[in-house]
Symmetry: C2
Subunit: 557 residues, 2 copies
C-alpha cells in the first residue's frame, strides 16, 4: 500500500526557485577577472538563469545533452549552471587547471555540445577545439563580444548577447528526479579520468544532508565564501545547499591568494567558507604577515586532503574560527563524513577535542560505511585497525559515465580506495590512499600520518612521504620536505623530531629537502609524480643529508 | 538520461539503524505510568524493535497491514513504532484523549489488526473492542501478564512476553520508499476525522527538512524532551529527526504537568523540547510558583496553535530560552513553516524580533505556499492582506485514507483551511481558521488576533473569540475570558484595554467571563463547542458586565 502524499520530484531547479521567491534579495557577490565586484541577488540570478535555459532551448539543447562550463566561481557560471540543469540538460564542469589534452579528452568523452567559458580560458579552447568535433559553439561568460576563436568552424558568442533577447520566464523541472544533472570527472591520477554522473535526486538529497548542524550548519543568516571551485564536485554541494537555505554567496573568481580572500571576507561579512588546506595555509600566512584579523568569519570547512593540525590551531587560537574537517570524493557527491563533536566529545576540553578535529569525522545520516581487510572481512571500529573504506548510500556513484564498469561489491558498497580507521565514537580517519600506503615488511605505514607529524616540525612547510623500493622490507618511506621561508633544518634534525612521535619503524629512512612539491589540478600533492621523480632514490643518504638545508626568502609560489 | 547514482530507498528503518550503529549509546529515557524512570539507548531500542518486527511477522502481519498504537510517549511505544514500519506495516497512532466512540470509529475505518496499548488505556479497549471486528489481539506495552480484557474473543498479551522469544535480528526496508508508513487522523472538529497516510519517503524527507538550523536545529549534542505526543503527527517529525542525527530522547509518559516536565528537563539535561502552548503555560506557571530555573534548556518549538507573546517573553527574559514558533497540520507531516530570523531580521534588536517570533514563519525549502482570495486569485505578500493559505510539496497529503476525495486544486495545492498573511520577508502569519474568521459587514475579523491582544491584559489567562449572529453586521465578536488565579477584571476594563490596540470595529461587542474553556483532544480550544455553548448569546450585555469578575485561587485545572 502506497502512502497518499503528493508527488514532487526532487529536481534541483526547485532550490533556485525557492531562493528567488523567499530570499530574493539575498546578495550574490562576484569578483570578475579584472578584480571588479558585481552584486546581484537570488531573484536576479533566477531571472537570468531562465534566459540561459531559453537560449539553450533555442540552440536545440534538451534533456540529457551535455553542456560544459570551463571557468572559475562567478555569478554567470552560477546562473548558467541552473539554466542548464533546469531543463534537464547535464552540466559538465571542466577544470581549467587540467592539461589541455586532458580537457580535450573530457570534452570528447562527455560529448559536450556547448561550452560556457571564462575568457581566461580562451587559449585552452583555441588549442583543443580542432580536436573536439561534438562542440557546436562556445559562449564566453564574461565577454560582451568575443573575438573569434581563430578557428572559423566553431562560433563564439558573448554571454550577455546570447541571453539578452531571451525571456526571463520558462518552465523548469517536471521530469524524473533520477534525471542526470551533473557530470564531474575524477582527477584520475591513475588511468583516464572517470565521469561521475549525478542525478537531481542525489544532489538534492546531498544538499539536505550537508546543511544540518552536524555538517555545514548552513542557514539564511550565513554569507558563504565559495573558496572551493564549482568544478570540484559541485563546490562540495554548496552550489545547492546555499540556495536551499537562502544563504548569501561570495564567488571569488580566480584570485584565491590570501590577500584577495581576506579582503572579500571582510568587505562582504563572510560567516562561513569551504576550501582545501592549501587555501587556508595561504590565507593564514597572509594574516601572519600583515597582522590581519577576521570580524565576521565563524567557521571553515576543510576538505580535499587531510587538514594539518597547525591550521586548526591557528584558526582557533589566533582568530577564534572553528575549523571543521569533512571528507568525501567526487564519487560521494562529495561530502560523506564531517568531524563535528558527538555528545561525548562535546563535553571534552577544547584541547582534547583537537584529536577528533584531526579525524575526517562521522558519517552523515543516509551514508553507510564498512571497513574491511583485503579479503573483505569486516574490521573492528577500534580506532586502530586500518582497513579499506567502503561506502553506500543515495549520494554515492553506482558507476561511471560511458562505461559499463561498476566498482560496487556484492552488497552494493563502493570501494573508496582509501585506507581508514573507525573509532568507538564513529569517527573515521583516513590513514592513506590504498595506493600510497607503504608496505614495509608485511605491515602498513600510513604516508599521511608521517606527513602530518613531520609538518609539526617548526621548519617544515609542506611534507610528502612516498614508498621507495627496499631489498629487505619491500618498501621503506622517503620523506620530502619543503622548508618554510627563511627556515633551516637538517635531515637528522627532522628524523630526531619524529622519534617518539611515531613508531620507530615508521621513521623515514631518508629525508630530502625540495624547493617544490608538484600538485595536481585540485591542489593536492601529486604522489604519482613524486614516485616518478624520486622513486629511483636508494637508501644511501645523499651527501647533503648531514648538512643543514635552508630556504631563502624568495618564494616561487 | 538517468544519473549513475546508487539506488537507496528512503525508508525510515534506516534512521534507527543509523542511530544504533553510530550513536548506539545515546540515552533514551522514559517515564512509566507509575513514575519510574527507564533508561535505554538507540542500540537497545533497535534490538528490541527487531523483536517487535519478528513478533508481528509471526502474527501474520506484513506490508500494508495496519497496526495501531494507543498510548503516551514511552520507549516501548518508540520501539514498537519502528518494529511496525520496518517491515512495511503501517503504524496507526490512536489518540487516547478522543472519545471512545471516536476511537472505535478510527480502528474500524483503518482496519487495525493489532493494537499496542498502554495499560492506562485498558478501559477504552474493554468498551470499544466488541465493536471492532478487525482487531485480532491487543498487546499491552507496559504490562508483563495482563488480565483478560473482559471479552473472551480478543486475546491480550504482555509486550515483554510477546517479544521475548523473538530474535533480535531481521531484515528491514528493502521496499519502495512510497510504501505507506504511518496513518494519523485529523482531529476532525467538523465531520468525521480523515486519515493522512504518510509514506516512508514523505516522512524521511520531512525529517531532513526539519533538522536544519532554520528549523529545529537538531544535532547529536541535543537531548530532546518529547512533550508533543507521538500520536500528534509523528511528534512533529521528531520521532524521525532525533534518530536521524542521534539526538538523545526523553519520553515523559502521560505526566505533562509543569512539575513533572521541569524535573525531567533538569535531571536529564534536556537542551530542546517541542510542544503546544498549553504545556509551556503550565511549565512557566510552575516555575513562577516555585522559583524554578533551567540549567540546560536552550530552545523550545511551539506549535499546534498560535503562541501567546507572554510565553515568548517569559521564556526569553526570565529563563534565557529561545522560543521558536512552527506551523503545520496533520496533512503537512506536520512542520511546514518555522519562525527563524532571516538575514535582515537577525540584524534587528531582540525587541524588534518579537513581532516576527509571533508569526508562524518562513516555509521550509521544498514547501510551496500560495495565498489566494475566495476566487483563487493570488494575493500580495504585503503582511496585511489575508487570504486562504494553500500548500504544495513532497511532505503534503494528496488525499485521505479510504476515500477517493482529494482536496487539491488544479495546480496540486492543498487548501489548509487557514486564513493567513505573508509579508515581504516571507513570514506567514495565520490570522484565523477559515471557519473561525468573523465576517462582519463584509470584512474579516481575525478571532486569533483579538485573542492574542486580549491575552496581554494582566488579568487574562486564556481568551477565546467567536462570532455570534448580528442583525446588521451578520456576525460580531464575542470575547470569552478565563481570568488568572486571584485576578479580577470587568468587561469594560477588558474592552478599554483593547482600544487603540486593535481596530475599533474589531473590539468585541460583548465580553463574558468563564471558569472553563473547552479544549479538544490535542489541547486546542474547541471553537465548535464554544459556538454551541455561546452562539445563542445576544448583544444585550449581561447584568454582570458592569461588575468586576474575580477568579478564586482554587483551580479546577
Amino acid at each position: 500500500m502506497q502512502g497518499l502524499m503528493q508527488e514532487a520530484e526532487l529536481t534541483l531547479d526547485r532550490l533556485l526557485t525557492y531562493a528567488s521567491e523567499w530570499h530574493g534579495n539575498t546578495p550574490i557577490v562576484s569578483r570578475a577577472a579584472d578584480g571588479s565586484i558585481c552584486r546581484t541577488d537570488y531573484a536576479g540570478i533566477a531571472l537570468r538563469a531562465h534566459r540561459v535555459s531559453n537560449a539553450l532551448r533555442a540552440a536545440g539543447i534538451g534533456k540529457g545533452d551535455r553542456v560544459a562550463t570551463l571557468g572559475w566561481n562567478g555569478y554567470q557560471h552560477f546562473e548558467a549552471w541552473y539554466g542548464i540543469i533546469g531543463i534537464g540538460a547535464i552540466c559538465h564542469t571542466l577544470n581549467p587547471r587540467l592539461l589541455n589534452e586532458q580537457i580535450a579528452y573530457l570534452v570528447n568523452h562527455a560529448g559536450d555540445r556547448i561550452i560556457l567559458a571564462d575568457q581566461a580560458c580562451r587559449d585552452i579552447l583555441v588549442e583543443i577545439l580542432p580536436q573536439c568535433p561534438t562542440v557546436e559553439c562556445v559562449i564566453f561568460l564574461d565577454e560582451e563580444t568575443p573575438s573569434p576563436l581563430g578557428n572559423g568552424d566553431i562560433p563564439a558568442t558573448g554571454y550577455e548577447t546570447w541571453i539578452s533577447s531571451q525571456p526571463e520566464q520558462g518552465n523548469w523541472g517536471a521530469f524524473d528526479e533520477r534525471q542526470a544533472a551533473g557530470l564531474c570527472y575524477t582527477s584520475g591520477t591513475t588511468g583516464n579520468p572517470k565521469g561521475v554522473l549525478y542525478s537531481h535526486r542525489s544532489n538534492y538529497l546531498h544538499a539536505m544532508m550537508v546543511l544540518g548542524p552536524d555538517a555545514l550548519n548552513l542557514s539564511a543568516r550565513d554569507t558563504v565564501l565559495l573558496a572551493v571551485p564549482m568544478y570540484h564536485a559541485n563546490a562540495w554541494g554548496v552550489v545547492y545547499a546555499a540556495p536551499m537555505v537562502g544563504a548569501g554567496l561570495v564567488l571569488p573568481g580566480q584570485k584565491l591568494d590570501g590577500a584577495s580572500l581576506h579582503e572579500l571576507i571582510e568587505t562582504e561579512g563572510v560567516t562561513y567558507s569551504a576550501g582545501v588546506p592549501t587555501i587556508w595555509q595561504m590565507l593564514l600566512t597572509h594574516l601572519r604577515d600583515t597582522g590581519g584579523t577576521f570580524s565576521t568569519l565563524q567557521r571553515v570547512t576543510v576538505g580535499g586532503s587531510a587538514c594539518p593540525e597547525t591550521i586548526i590551531r591557528e584558526f582557533r587560537d589566533v582568530h577564534g574560527v572553528d575549523v571543521i574537517q569533512g571528507w568525501g570524493m567526487t564519487e560521494t557527491s562529495p561530502l560523506a563524513t564531517v568531524s563535528i563533536p558527538n555528545r561525548r566529545i562535546s563535553a571534552l576540553s577544547p584541547e582534547e577535542q583537537v584529536a577528533y578535529k584531526l579525524k575526517q569525522g562521522r558519517p552523515l545520516s543516509g551514508i553507510e560505511l564498512k571497513l574491511v581487510d583485503d579479503t573483505g572481512q569486516q574490521l573492528p571500529h577500534d580506532g586502530r585497525t586500518p582497513g579499506r573504506l567502503l561506502i553506500r548510500g543515495p549520494t554515492i556513484a553506482s558507476g561511471y559515465f560511458g562505461t559499463d564498469s561498476t566498482s560496487l561489491d556484492e552488497e552494493g558498497y563502493f570501494d573508496t580506495g582509501d585506507i581508514a580507521t573507525l573509532d568507538h565514537d564513529g569517527y573515521m580517519q583516513i590513514t592513506d590512499r590504498a595506493k600510497d600506503v607503504i608496505k614495509s615488511g608485511g605491515e602498513w605505514i600510513s604516508s599521511v600520518d608521517v606527513e602530518n607529524i613531520a609538518m609539526g616540525h617548526p621548519a617544515a612547510e609542506v611534507c610528502a612521504v612516498i614508498g621507495i623500493p627496499h631489498p629487505k622490507w619491500d618498501e621503506r618511506p622517503l620523506l620530502l620536505v619543503r622548508l618554510r621561508k627563511n627556515a633551516s633544518a637538517s635531515a637528522e634534525e627532522i628524523r630526531d623530531y619524529l622519534k617518539g612521535r611515531i613508531a620507530s619503524w615508521w621513521i623515514p629512512d631518508r629525508v630530502e629537502f625540495v624547493d617544490d612539491l608538484p600538485t595536481g589540478p585540485t591542489g593536492k600533492i601529486d604522489k604519482k609524480k613524486l614516485r616518478d621523480l624520486y622513486g629511483g632514490l636508494t637508501f644511501i643518504q645523499s651527501p647533503e643529508d648531514k648538512a643543514t638545508a635552508k630556504r631563502s626568502g624568495a618564494d616561487q609560489a
